[in-house]
């Protein structure tokens, strides 16, 4: 009896197993990386096919962009522009993190800070700070400093607002635990609030990646036409659409790469978080 069931099972999955697989949903057995690559291939194929039909001034297509990209890599222009953009981008992002995290922690933890600073954080997050760029140029000139300033100002608010939300959502009972053991404000901050807020800080840092990339391109448009933003604008002005797309693709890849980097960092500093999420899935 046992034997027959055994052979049946090896021949084909029993109905129960099949039902289970069905319940797990479409594509449960396909690795994520395969789905991602398939999605990319389909998207590029469509773009290539339909892009060729359109006047090259209005749009371009992958193979043409790739060709333009190769030329720009060969003459070193792309790499130089990339470095030109990355320097103010990384410094601005770093400043945003160093200012935004403590700002968010303070507003989330202390009533006086929330009452005194909260509205600026909310306003700074919601308003189009790009509108202030002419003023920034007056203050910081047209060089490196103004780009750093624009990146930090755009990136600081998503970091601060997320950290703030995180610090506010620390369970009251955990703070009481700290008080039970006569913890100082500093101990409660470093041993309870910050670890508890880390996942929120990481979300803020991820959102700030996108904001920083927008910021650096806009900064380059408004100031001296340097870096990747400079190439985009110059190529666009000369109707060289394929060339214009090269830095755009680089910026997209940069966004994905940096976000992944923050995710990796999150796993390094808060490994329990992913474990908890996995255990509840």
């Amino acid at each position: 009896m046992l034997d027959t069931t055994g052979t049946k099972q090896s021949a084909a999955p029993p109905p129960a197993a099949r039902a289970r697989a069905r319940r797990r949903g479409f594509g449960a057995s396909v690795p994520s990386s395969v789905i991602t690559i398939a999605s990319l291939v389909i998207m590029l194929a469509f773009w290539e096919i339909f892009g060729r039909e359109i006047n090259p001034i209005f749009a371009s297509y992958p193979s043409e962009i790739f060709k333009a990209g190769v030329t720009m890599v060969e003459d070193g222009e792309l790499f130089e522009a990339f470095i030109q953009s990355m320097k103010p981008l990384s410094l601005g992002y770093f400043i945003a993190a160093v200012v935004g995290i403590p700002l968010g922690l303070l507003t989330g933890r202390y009533r006086w800070a929330e009452a005194g600073l909260g509205m600026y954080v909310t306003a700074g997050y919601a308003m189009p700070l790009v509108a202030l760029i002419p003023l920034f140029i007056l203050w910081f000139g047209l060089g490196f400093a103004v780009k750093v300033a624009i990146v930090s100002v755009l990136a600081v608010f998503p970091i601060a607002i997320n950290t703030w939300a995180g610090a506010k959502s620390v369970p009251r009972t955990l703070i009481e635990l700290g008080k039970t053991y006569v913890g100082s404000d500093f101990q409660i901050m470093t041993k309870i609030i910050i670890p508890s807020t880390l996942p929120f800080i990481m979300v803020g840092l991820k959102l700030a990646v996108g904001r920083s990339i927008i910021a650096i391109v806009v900064a380059e448009f408004f100031t001296l036409l340097t870096g990747l933003g400079g190439i985009i604008l110059k190529a666009g002005d000369s109707f060289d659409t394929a060339r214009m797309f090269v830095p755009v693709v680089v910026l997209m890849a940069l966004g994905i790469g940096l976000t992944w980097l923050v995710g990796w960092l999150e796993h390094k500093v808060a490994p329990w978080q992913r474990d908890i999420a996995d255990s509840e899935r």
């Binding site: 009972t173 955990l174 039970t180 053991y181 006569v182 309870i192 508890s196 908890i276 255990s279």
Partner: protein, 269 residues
């Protein structure tokens, strides 16, 4: 240690809350003059329906909440805020999710400023005491409800408190685990001789564990303090449940809770 009075002395405790409602602010009298003593080594349970003030009393003794009037003394010293002479076991364990079991147990000592090697060795002893030696490096999400509560109990014991405060620690556990934990708490109490103040709404639990049961009315006063004359050590919880003393006290407390329940709590507000 030469102090001859009670370990815990609670006198005329009152507590008013202000609750903002749609129509304005309402004053709620959570406690209306509570007085009782707990002797050294005694196990006292506070029981009553929810909202009767038993947890509020515990939180005031712990120092997390402040009373409106009245006093709390531990060994004759008036309580003013939290201190290491009291250890707390919370209703839902309240473990830090990013710390392993052993790191959670160390937490109190860490805030107290105990050296790392010393606190690790104390934490290991406590971990052993609650029977979790094998789970030292698990994080809270990898622990069952009962295990979490054991970690919470071990953490409370690390600072060697004069009084152990427990706020419905087994309330969220399923029946079998709860009974297991009760048995272990009895033997732990036997070993450590700690003074325990235990909040519960479970009458069986109150009678089984305590030397005296404080019955609260729904209006934040004490109705009666019942002596439980079951000898210690109470090694046989099943047998104890069958004794006449257990049955009588259980029935008595149950009847008193029903009686004091006649008036709806709303009238007390």
């Amino acid at each position: 240690m030469t102090f001859a009075g009670p370990k815990v002395r609670v006198r005329d405790l009152t507590k008013e809350y202000y609750v903002s409602t749609g129509g304005g602010t309402q004053v709620v009298n959570a406690l209306n003059g509570i007085s009782f003593d707990i002797r050294a080594g005694e196990f006292v349970a506070l029981t009553g329906r929810s909202g009767c003030g038993k947890t509020t009393s515990l939180r005031i003794v712990l120092g997390l909440d402040e009373q409106t009037s009245g006093t709390v003394e531990i060994d004759g010293r008036e309580v003013n805020g939290c201190g290491y002479d009291r250890g707390m076991v919370f209703q839902h364990a309240e473990l830090l999710p990013w710390r392993t079991a052993i790191e959670n147990i160390e937490f109190g000592l860490e805030l107290k400023g105990v050296r790392k090697d010393e606190r690790r060795s104390i934490a290991n002893k406590m971990l052993d005491l609650v029977g979790l030696k094998k789970s030292a490096d698990r994080r809270p999400y990898q622990l069952s409800g009962g295990m979490k509560q054991r970690v919470g109990l071990a953490r409370a014991l690390t600072t060697d408190p004069e009084v152990l405060l427990m706020d419905e620690p087994f309330g969220a556990l399923d029946a079998q685990i709860r009974e297991e934990m009760q048995t272990e708490l009895l033997s732990l109490h036997e070993k450590t001789k700690k003074t325990v103040m235990f909040v519960t709404h479970d009458i069986d639990e109150a009678v089984l564990l305590s030397d005296r049961v404080v019955i609260f009315t729904p209006h934040g006063t004490i109705h009666e303090i019942v002596d439980i004359n079951i000898p210690r050590p109470r090694n046989d919880p099943i047998g104890i449940r069958g004794t006449e003393e257990f049955q009588n006290k259980r029935y008595h407390i149950w009847r008193m809770l029903k009686l004091t329940d006649q008036r709806p709590a709303d009238l007390a507000m």
